[in-house]
Amino acid sequence: MSLSRLRNVLKCDLVKASASSASISKLWGPCTKEVSTCSTQRGSVAQHSSKPDWNRAVSEAEKIVGYPTSFLSLRWVLSDEIANVALHLRKLVGSNHPLLKTAKNLIYNGKNNMQAWGLIVLLVSKAAGHSPEIPDMEQDKAAGVLHSQRALAEVTEMIRTSHLVHKGLVNMNARQQVAGEPDDMMFGNKIALLSGDYLLANSCSELANLRNQELVELMSSAVRDLAEAEFLGDRDEQNNPLPSRPVPEGEWGPDSEWDCIVDPLPMTGVTGCLQREWVARHVLAAGALLGKSCSAALKLAGHKPALQTQGYLFGCHLALAWQAFLDLEAFTGPEPASFSLVGAPLAFTLQARPELYEYIEAGRRSVHDVDYHALYKAVLEGPGIEQTKRLQREHVSRACAVLDSFPPGDARTALANIIVAMHHEI
């Protein structure tokens, strides 16, 4: 599909979202606004191309900003350290260490692929354009982004991958015996920890090379947010997240606002209110990094702070919409063996039926002990799925509202296309 064709397909403005003056605090509020634009978007796309599927949206978008953005580039693969890791990874094959799964997921080109994150940062960069004062030397003219923005996109991917790899450690300190040889697990942990550190260290020096200290501070705060995410709420012995015990609506504490995104996310009023907990969890684990990266990309282009904030909101809402979409996937196909216990559909269901929490209690030791079938049935019967769809639409519309403030162009279209593709398949 050529770019011109893509433009034709999307010539009707996709991003006519109801302009919500989305402030950072709005991330918190309950989803009250119904979004009308998304359904019309879907219709218009469907007319021209029967299935604007995800992979196509992504690969088209990649062409717009040059080459595939993944850090899994030759430079990376050829580094000594990674060659070393690859060697050691082979020793782990056959063991049960989750690092293998993480590695597979990194290479597998699925929907939950973090490669798309760098892509989004580049698309936002291109969509917003840059200040005319930036010298030609610093531009990647063909792709329409700055070299510094490309470096930033790489940093985003490295930070995210590093976090995923560190998340994939095995807790050897659990009362419950870990499945697998202890020696293998220890070795796997060592490799996982070092590989993650390697990525983190590289992102530190890449950031330092950008010579923009506000940006270093912002991106470091995103690393901090990711670390905080792994401590939010209850956990089983392998640190898998569990929802907190739902509290009736009347007893919720006052909601808090995240006034300054360089400060840590406030936690007051979160525990017990599962919707807020869902937002807080995924802002920390995903939204903050994507949002801050988009914001940083605009900073590099010399845009005003107000637009940088919009960039943050775009990334954050997009990540949350994405998360809601992933949470829904478990309930659209055949019944899965297990699913996220902190997904939005279950959060809404638990809030409506607090007595279901005893199923969660069974997972204190390990999330594998939970009766997923019973919870699955409860989710299907309850309001959770509808509410999650509404939640997703809400975040999609907020993200679209930001897109609206960018001038029309292929990158903006591609971003809209990615959002639609994600939305379409529900």
Partner: protein
């Protein structure tokens, strides 16, 4: 490493185990007596009694294959050692120069400040607990101390007597300790150590996934602090530290086949894992001071030599110190499969160590056998000698700074590092 082989170099350290400061280094006043240089045993710090005799040309020109920069320094140093009379140590004057005492006000509350900075950056109670666990004030705070000492010495060098410590320089001191602790936390998960600093290590107490995240968290907060100094050069210098630390860890995973390669590998690894942090943080404070390039480079080289000396002593202590004094188990390196300087030196006399090094002391009895051979060989004294040379080079560099109590403190620190027992 040919240029330091025992045939060409004869270093005799009479007391292998140097007795000195107890646990409370910072409480103790260090008296340095003015003594004319001479061959008699020197009394330093009141109770330490040691004697070093060097004889013959310390280093020949051979061994070019081990031409790492460290070896180069060792060679340069050899001549400087020759020119000084045997066993002499620098003259500090009659005044009391205990760097910890000298910087008491600056160091006071540094752990509290670090804890406050970490606490400010999270609303998760458990993350705060793990992240602040090692900032309990029980550590030696060597890195912050050296950073502040260098900051004050360079400020004095550049601006004279009335110079003060910049807040940003104290921040670098805090950052250096934070980066160090973040790496310790990750090391604990990797090495599954049981004790550190005389208490259970983090991996014994908490979920390993959370411990790993707490390490990332400390690094992130340190990065934010670096960024807030708003100096591109300082950020670049300190980001190099993080890269070095990781690359050092990767080097530790592998070993080299031949002896020469192995020693070079070991020295580079030691620089990356230990010396880089000290070298680059003292360079950062010099940059913040506005010192010229050569002074910054001097600071860097001082830190590098001090760091190498520090780690060599650390590797030595792993063989001679008691578990109780160290606050962590001894022969830990062997148990982890690591061949440090004492083993590498011992290889010259006992080639049977070579296969053990290659199999990382995995077979039953390897650790005990290697331990015994190291003690039978001259590996420990050779290691001490190398450490001493790096210490002397650091002291020599410090002498180039303007004369001040802080500059003297930098010189004394090289001795503190050499003569510590933990």
């Amino acid at each position: 490493m040919a240029c330091l082989s025992s045939s060409r170099l004869c270093a005799r350290v009479q007391d292998k185990l140097l007795c000195q400061f107890g646990h409370k280094v910072r409480r103790q006043t260090v008296f340095v007596k003015l003594k004319p240089p001479g061959p008699s045993p020197l009394r330093i710090f009141g109770k330490t009694c040691q004697r070093v005799t060097t004889c013959g040309p310390a280093c020949g020109s051979g061994g070019a294959s081990a031409a790492t920069s460290a070896a180069g320094v060792a060679r340069r140093l050899a001549s400087s050692l020759q020119s000084t009379s045997t066993g002499s140590l620098p003259d500090y004057g009659t005044q009391i120069v205990d760097p910890y005492r000298l910087l008491e006000d600056d160091l006071n509350g540094i752990y509290e400040d670090i804890r406050a900075e970490l606490e400010k950056n999270t609303n998760q109670a458990e993350l705060n607990t793990i992240a602040t666990y090692y900032f309990d004030g029980q550590g030696k705070a060597l890195r912050p101390m050296v950073a502040i000492l260098m900051a004050r010495a360079v400020n004095y060098h550049v601006y004279g007597e009335n110079s003060a410590l910049l807040p940003s320089q104290r921040q670098v001191a805090m950052i250096s300790e934070m980066i160090h602790s973040a790496s310790l936390i990750h090391d604990d998960v990797i090495d599954q150590s049981d004790f550190r600093r005389g208490k259970p290590s983090v991996n014994v107490l908490w979920n390993h996934k959370k411990v790993a995240m707490a390490g990332d968290f400390i690094l992130a907060v340190a990065s934010m602090m670096i960024a807030r100094l708003r100096s591109d050069d300082v950020t670049l210098v300190l980001s190099q530290v993080v890269t070095d630390l990781v690359q050092g860890e990767f080097m530790q995973l592998g070993s080299k086949e031949t002896e020469n390669e192995r020693f070079a590998h070991y020295l580079t690894k030691t620089y990356r894992k230990t010396a880089s942090l000290i070298a680059n943080s003292v360079k950062a404070v010099a940059l913040l001071s506005g010192a010229d390039e050569s002074t910054c480079e001097l600071a860097f080289q001082y830190g590098r030599n001090l760091g190498l000396s520090f780690q060599l002593v650390d590797d030595l202590l792993d063989f001679v110190s008691s578990a109780q004094a160290m606050g962590k188990p001894t022969a830990a390196d062997l148990k982890l499969g690591l061949a440090t300087a004492p083993v590498l030196f011992a290889c010259e006399k006992y080639p049977e160590l070579n296969p053990m090094i290659m199999r990382r002391f995995q077979e039953a009895g390897d650790v005990e056998k290697a331990f015994e051979l190291v003690h039978k060989s001259r590996g420990l004294e050779q290691t001490r000698f190398l450490a001493r040379k790096h210490g002397a080079e650091a002291a020599r560099l410090a002498h180039d700074l303007a004369d001040s109590p802080y500059q003297k403190g930098l010189v004394v620190t090289t001795d503190l590092v050499l003569n510590r027992i933990k």
